[in-house]
């Protein structure tokens, strides 16, 4: 066994222990440790990715040298490695981009608490990506929930409290259902290790025994994760949580946290229950319908918003709807489209949040739509970044959103029956996205009237003023363009990874 293969385990442990470490450091050092940890893990994950690409297969890693079914296992393939690399990258950029806001909005005594939460969050995400064991998955789901809650709440004002509470309630509800589902599975199959469960489920399905309980189990698990990842109609907690928390929290929550749960769902579908059984259970039809409705309703709510952060948050609801629609097709193409969209959306949404904060900085910190007039001229980089993000959301060629749209559409054409609703929903959703995103783009490039400018005295922000944020924005734009223009290798990787995922 090569040294590289230990890296996933190291990543999880490192971030897990960095958490308590930050509790004894002060804010400045905690920040540095945090950034260092993320960077190291990024490097390690890249090495793992290179390794899996080389071998072309996934491997199983036993933790603590206890064999199954008692010990803990993690499994590493191309798909997992890619996700790990990507999540680390985005988290790094989000943390860099949100530095200023954290210094401003969090009390100095509580700064290090934030970094504890972030480290825990990172470890739980990595664990969810790599784990091969349902129980571990559940534990880290809970850790994820708590740290996410902390991330929301760290900026102390009434709104975030309310948001955190709402988030907590909904999330725990979801976790509860997930736990129920896991218990049923354990009951039915007697195993907690994913591959073992799958064998048993296959046997059960073939014999026709316990058909109803199995169905209910799949349903519980799906709904539980759906609640946690804010699928319509379980999305009510999202706008507040993303809208009012500090910048890096919003960015991380929207790009990574919900995606972690979705990835877990994919894993459960493929590795625990078996995709054929899932498809036959028709649960994917339910997901499809909610996904499509979410696509439309999310955008409609976004149009009604006049707070730019909440508008972007509602957009997330719509985008998560896209992902579930992709699941709903029940085909390999659909899965690949959804997986790609996980990556694409993560990159774009975090870009939008950071860019939006740049715009609001140049508008006296107001997030109200009308105060943003002309912001594109006051903070040029943020304006361009926001435009790039908006165009990507709309599905403009050259950007990653276009590739997502293309993949979804091709998946739709492939599945004859869901074809028409999916394509029409795609088209309508594009139009709706255009309405609120391009409206904003036009507004930030409409010059403000002189009287208003004189009164409000907005600050003009150049790249030099906010070095870290500008660097983050440039990186985000580069990532977006990269995926827009060179998506083929990534899609190929997803395809291969999915094949060996089960």
């Amino acid at each position: 066994m090569e040294f590289v293969q230990n890296f996933p385990f190291f990543s999880i442990i490192l971030s897990l222990f960095a958490g308590p470490l930050c509790s004894i450091l002060n804010g400045k050092w905690a920040k540095r440790v945090n950034l260092a940890v993320i960077t190291i893990i990024l490097a390690m994950s890249s090495a793992v990715l290179a390794f899996t690409l080389r071998t072309g297969d996934s491997y199983v890693y036993m933790m603590g040298h206890f064999p199954a079914p008692w010990g803990n296992e993690i499994r590493v393939g191309m798909l997992e490695a890619l996700m790990a690399v990507f999540f680390c990258l985005i988290m790094l950029l989000c943390m860099i981009g949100g530095v200023l806001e954290r210094e401003r909005e969090i009390e100095s005594t509580k700064q290090n608490l934030y970094y504890i939460m972030v480290n825990l969050l990172l470890s739980s995400l990595l664990a969810l990506i790599y784990t091969n064991d349902l129980f571990t998955a559940y534990v880290f789901v809970e850790i994820n929930t708590i740290s996410a809650c902390g991330l929301i709440m760290i900026r102390q004002n009434g709104r975030t409290f309310e948001a955190a509470i709402r988030y907590m309630i909904m999330s725990l509800l979801g976790s509860g259902m997930l736990l129920l589902g896991i218990c049923f599975l354990y009951d039915l199959t007697g195993h907690l290790l994913m591959s073992n469960i799958k064998e048993q489920v296959a046997i059960l399905n073939a014999s026709g025994q316990y058909h109803m309980p199995l169905l209910i189990t799949v349903g519980l698990i799906s709904v539980g994760i759906a609640i946690k990842s804010a699928l319509f109609p379980f999305h009510a907690w999202l706008p507040d949580a993303y809208g009012y928390s500090t910048l890096s929290s919003a960015a991380i929550l929207s790009s990574l946290v919900s995606k972690g749960y979705i990835f877990l769902l994919v894993k459960i579908f493929y590795r625990v229950i078996g995709f054929d059984i899932v498809r036959d259970s028709k649960i994917i039809n339910v997901l499809f319908v909610f996904g499509v409705i979410g696509m439309i309703m999310g955008s409609i709510s976004a149009i009604k918003e006049s707070n730019i952060r909440r508008m972007i948050a509602y957009s997330s609801v719509a985008q998560i709807g896209y992902i579930y629609m992709g699941f709903g097709f029940g085909t390999e193409l659909g899965m690949i489209a959804s997986l790609y969209h996980i990556i694409s959306h993560a990159a774009t949404k975090s870009l939008l949040f950071v860019a939006a904060s740049g715009i609001t900085d140049a508008s006296g910190d107001s997030t109200d739509f009308f105060d943003l007039t002309g912001a594109g001229y006051r903070n040029k980089l943020a304006g361009i970044a926001f435009t790039v993000g908006a165009l990507s959301m709309v599905g403009f060629p050259l950007f990653t959103g276009f590739i997502s749209k293309l993949l979804f559409a091709q998946a739709a054409v492939d599945s004859y029956h869901k074809l028409l609703p999916a394509l029409i929903a795609l088209a309508v959703s594009t139009i709706l996205n255009t309405v609120y995103f391009m409206k904003t783009v036009i507004r930030i490039y409409t010059p403000e009237k002189r009287e208003v400018l004189a009164k409000k005295q907005y600050q003009v922000i150049t790249m030099k003023d906010q070095k870290w944020k500008s660097a983050a924005l440039v990186c985000f734009i580069a990532i977006n363009l990269f995926f827009g223009l060179y998506s083929e290798p990534v899609v190929g990787l997803l395809e291969r990874g999915l094949k060996i995922f089960a």
């Binding site: 091709q410 088209a427 594009t430 139009i431 391009m438 036009i442 490039y445 409409t446 083929e488």
Partner: protein
């Protein structure tokens, strides 16, 4: 000639335009010279390319192994590219004089030149994905031009334009996907690329997708019920409205519809089906609707914009006849209407530029003081009406010839619509001329004492267009033969 010229004429304007805000010009005149030279150089290269007719394609970029951005020149592309490359330098010349009064010229001319490249990209696209990408880019490149004056009206107009265009592209996208999946190749081949074996018995689905795709692309042609954006965009400076909304943007929309009908889905597949009927109906409605709105409109540029709405549907009518003659007729009207409409817009622009007057009722008696401009305007009005001897008659003749020989009863209704439209065109164009030349007895000319003909930079393009209208009207043979040979490629 090497096929790399294809990509040069597309990318050179991008480069030249992007440099406009950056280069240090000492004065306005320098910038003017730079822009005009860039545009002229590109046009010269384009025309050389059109004469040399390179046969190979050029792949600029690969998204994936089957999705590429690639260019190739064929008959139809030649026609559109020719229109664009001839008209752009003339329009640029005109706009120099015009934009003297406006401001923020650098950004304006930057995007103006970039749009040239984007339009050439649409003309030279080899496959449907390339065309779609440049189609989307066209919306974005022209947006700052509409928004230019940054007044409330302009912002609203640009928003409407954006929503309609991107919305239409969203539905057109569905068609693009289907062509990719059900076609043997994404490239444009005369007669269509649909793999009928793959289609199987899903004919109705494909027809439905064609209808959606048609509607999606036709938003840019301002077909009813998507006409609202075009007259609103009249708020932009006249060179923009004239060039873009009489020539580039709307003709690009018609061009894309031509491509998907004749070169992607294929007329053999579409002719005689319910899809043809469904798309023909709004086209015929638009022919009359555009003219009746033009009649009610009293703002000059908006009246001409509604006239464009109607005339674009003449082109669409030729397309939906789905026959070789129909395509030839549509192409001829594309060329001739561009000439006529850009001429009318420039006349209107001269009036607005010289006197600031934008409404029809303010133009009484102008014929005496701006005789050249109004004489040319009258000629363009006669051409639009279809008086024999001018080019409008020829293109109308070809369209109707195609309609009559199609023996489709709905096409006969279309012929009636065309003639009703001709009558309405006569009314809304000639009343302007008559009021200008024959104001009521006792009209006080001292109210328009300051009115005068504009200088050579604005008059020269007008004269050139007038000559063109007569030449096309009296000697259209060679052009028509060329167009009919393009049409004959279709089965």
């Amino acid at each position: 000639m090497n096929s790399v010229i294809l990509v040069i004429v597309v990318l050179l304007p991008f480069l030249a335009g992007a440099l406009v805000p950056v280069l240090p010009f000492k004065n306005r005149r320098q910038m003017m010279v730079y822009v005009e030279s860039a545009v002229l150089l590109n046009s010269v290269l384009a025309i050389a390319m059109l004469i040399a007719q390179p046969q190979d394609s050029f792949v600029l970029f690969r998204f994936t192994s089957d999705l590429t951005l690639s260019f190739r020149l064929d008959g139809m592309g030649t026609v559109f590219a020719a229109i664009v490359s001839v008209l752009w330098p003339l329009a640029t010349l005109y706009s120099f004089e015009y934009m003297k009064h406006e401001g923020h010229e650098k950004v304006f001319f930057a995007f103006y030149v970039i749009t040239y490249g984007v339009t050439m990209g649409i003309a030279l696209a080899e496959d449907v994905v390339t065309m779609y990408c440049f189609y989307e880019m066209l919306t974005l490149a022209t947006l700052p031009l509409i928004m230019h004056t940054l007044t409330r009206e302009a912002i609203l107009a640009s928003r409407t334009y954006l929503y309609y265009s991107l919305g239409g592209a969203a539905f057109a996208f569905i068609g693009v996907i289907f062509i990719l999946v059900y076609g043997s190749t994404p490239n444009f081949i005369p007669g269509g690329v649909l793999d009928l074996a793959k289609v199987g018995d899903r004919t109705n689905l494909l027809l439905l997708i064609y209808v959606l795709c048609f509607f999606g692309f036709s938003v840019k042609t301002a077909m009813w019920p998507f006409s609202k954006w075009l007259p609103q965009a009249g708020v932009a400076p006249t060179p923009v409205t004239a060039l873009l909304h009489a020539v580039a943007v709307v003709k690009a929309g018609a061009f894309t519809v031509m491509r998907i009908t004749y070169y992607s889905f294929g007329t053999e597949f579409l002719r005689g089906t319910w899809a043809q009927t469904v798309v023909m109906i709004p086209v015929i409605i638009t022919i009359v609707y555009g003219c009746s709105r033009a009649l009610k409109e009293t703002h000059i540029k908006r009246r001409l914009a509604w006239s464009t709405v109607s005339n674009l549907s003449y082109i669409l009518f030729g397309i939906v006849l789905m026959s070789p003659l129909g395509l030839a007729g549509a192409l001829s009207h594309m060329i001739f209407h561009a000439t006529m409409k850009i001429c009318s817009f420039f006349c209107a622009g001269s009036v607005i530029y010289k006197t600031g007057r934008e409404y029809i009722h303010q133009l009484d008696g102008f014929g005496r003081r701006m005789p050249k401009v109004f004489a040319i305007f009258t000629i363009s009005g006669l051409a639009l009406m279809g008086v024999p001897g001018l080019c409008g008659f020829v293109s109308k003749w070809n369209l109707v010839k195609a309609a009559v020989s199609s023996e489709n009863p709905l096409a006969y209704v279309g012929i009636g619509a065309l003639l009703v439209s001709a009558l309405l065109t006569a009314i809304y164009m000639l009343t302007i001329s008559i009021r200008a030349f024959f104001p009521e007895k006792g009209f006080d000319y001292s109210t328009i004492q300051d009115v005068e003909d504009p200088n050579w930079m604005m008059l020269l393009p007008l004269v050139i267009f007038t000559v063109a209208m007569f030449v096309f009207g009296l000697h259209s043979g060679p052009v028509l033969s060329g167009l009919e040979s393009i049409g004959a490629l279709m089965r």
